[in-house]
Amino acid sequence: MVSDSIPNASIPVASSNPKDFAKKKRANRSAKLKQCKLDARREQWLSQVKNKGSKDEMNVGGNQAPATNVANERGRLIEKLEIKPRAEEDNEVNIDSSNHYSDSDSNSNSPISHTSSIMEGNDSAANFAGSSSSSISSCSGTGGCCSGSLSEEDEQGDDDDCLDDWEAVADALAATDQKLEQHHPGLDSPREKGENVHLSSQTNVSNGVTGIDTTKQKSEHRGLASRPPVSCKAWRPDDAFRPQILPNLSKQYSFPMNSERHCHGGALWGCKRLSVPTSCPICCEDLDLTDTSFHPCTCGFILCLFCHKRILEEDGRCPGCRKQYNHGSVESEATVDGGSMKFRLARSCSMISRS
């Protein structure tokens, strides 16, 4: 019984005194708990830094957090790849860079519009047959260069790889969103208004159509930004996409203390947990300050970091609402890391092939 509950095997079995034994066991367990909490705290901190970093356009101390590093690196990479002529790259790099292009392309729309960009991909592929020649030749500078490569990329853009990558690095890319939008305001114009480009004069392409398109983009942007799976934020009460079944939290909004995080006491835990529980509902251990300020899920279910870690190791669903814990937690960080590995590889490959 007792030996079962000892986490570390390092305790000598010879300790005959049961009191000693129990004491050591407790000490050991609390040490482990502490370590675990430290780990989780670090993760929490990292995810905060990541979010903050992407909001501040990643100018905040690049070397401090790996997450920001990733974003920075990708930013540089995208810039680099945009300038690079495609012909120089070998096959392998082409595949990777096509992902980049698709990323940067949908980026200029919105960080979320991946599906739409793929769907447009079909249209634009057809449109491009007519428009690409004119747009490449007519548009000068970076815009032209980019749209030229876009045509090829869009045909490849239907790859599943692209989809996975996009979702994984969506957070990191959010930072480059605005920058890219500034750089290539007319990026989409030849694709969407292919026929217009074909018929109209060069000045139209650079002025009129671009104007129309950016407004169109923006409205698209807004519509898509409220889509559930990617936005990862609590529903706003006035959100059109908000499912009817969700309980109305407006009462809880009125509490001044929760206005920021939206996660104080969801429906299930409503009345009882308006005051933060003193012990973890899962393991019944007392919650410390770190635990009580830890809000892993928007439903407001609070649990200790120890149990949270354990759940993440298993199915990763919130005990309160059974929804998947997502983003800003360990899982998404891992995939972002994986993504950056890949991009780093692609970059070094291209350098080798160039030299």
């Binding site: 079962d4 899962i282 393991c283 019944c284 354990r310 759940i311 298993e314 005990p319 309160g320 059974r322």
Partner: protein
């Protein structure tokens, strides 16, 4: 390892309001991993008046894994095996959440008793009967409740067995040995 602190707390809390809920959890032996839950049959159902025992085994992963629950009392219900007592209930499988407790799980089983789901049966025969011949189903369920789920007082149990022709002293000792389980005592008396 089972989270013993949590199990202990659950036992305390559950047994604190037995008077209200009628649901109790007791230890089966010395171990905190083998428990017996007891739920009263819901009023207005064929199970009314019965007291159903549920065998609970906690796995090492509890509360991150669901407790294993099985009816120890025979019960006639579409979602409970009439042979093994196995329960078909989502929260005891994939819909388990660590935020649930033994008490809430037992409450859910009690709710299952009053609201059978014949479309997702555990016992096909019972489910068929439930759908096609509801009158017979109710009769059988009530009969099983009367037969297996009615707890008699100790004196009533002794009386019943003595009426069968066993000497009272032997009946008393056998019942005590079997934890006042009249069916087990009867078997023992018959075999011994």
């Amino acid at each position: 390892m089972v989270d013993l602190a949590r199990v202990q707390k659950e036992l305390q809390e559950c047994n604190r309001d037995v008077g209200v809920s009628g649901i109790s959890v007791t230890l089966k032996g010395d171990s905190l991993t083998h428990l017996i839950g007891t739920i009263p049959g819901p009023l207005g159902t064929p199970y009314e008046g019965g007291s159903f025992k549920i065998d609970i085994t906690l796995t090492d992963g509890y509360p991150f894994e669901p407790p294993k629950m099985r009816f120890a009392t025979k019960v006639w219900h579409p979602n409970i095996s009439s042979q093994s007592g196995a329960i078909c209930l989502d929260i005891l499988k994939d819909q388990w959440s660590p935020a649930l407790t033994l008490k809430t799980a037992l409450l859910s089983i009690q709710a299952l008793l009053s609201a059978p789901e014949p479309d997702d049966p555990q016992d096909a025969v019972v489910a068929q009967q439930y759908l096609r011949d509801h009158q017979t189903f109710v009769g059988t369920a009530r009969y099983w409740t009367e037969t297996f789920a009615k707890t008699l007082g100790t004196e009533e149990k002794i009386q019943k067995l003595v009426e069968m022709g066993f000497p009272e002293a032997q009946v008393r000792s056998t019942l005590e040995a079997t934890g006042w389980d009249e069916n087990m005592a009867l078997e023992k008396l018959c075999s011994g």
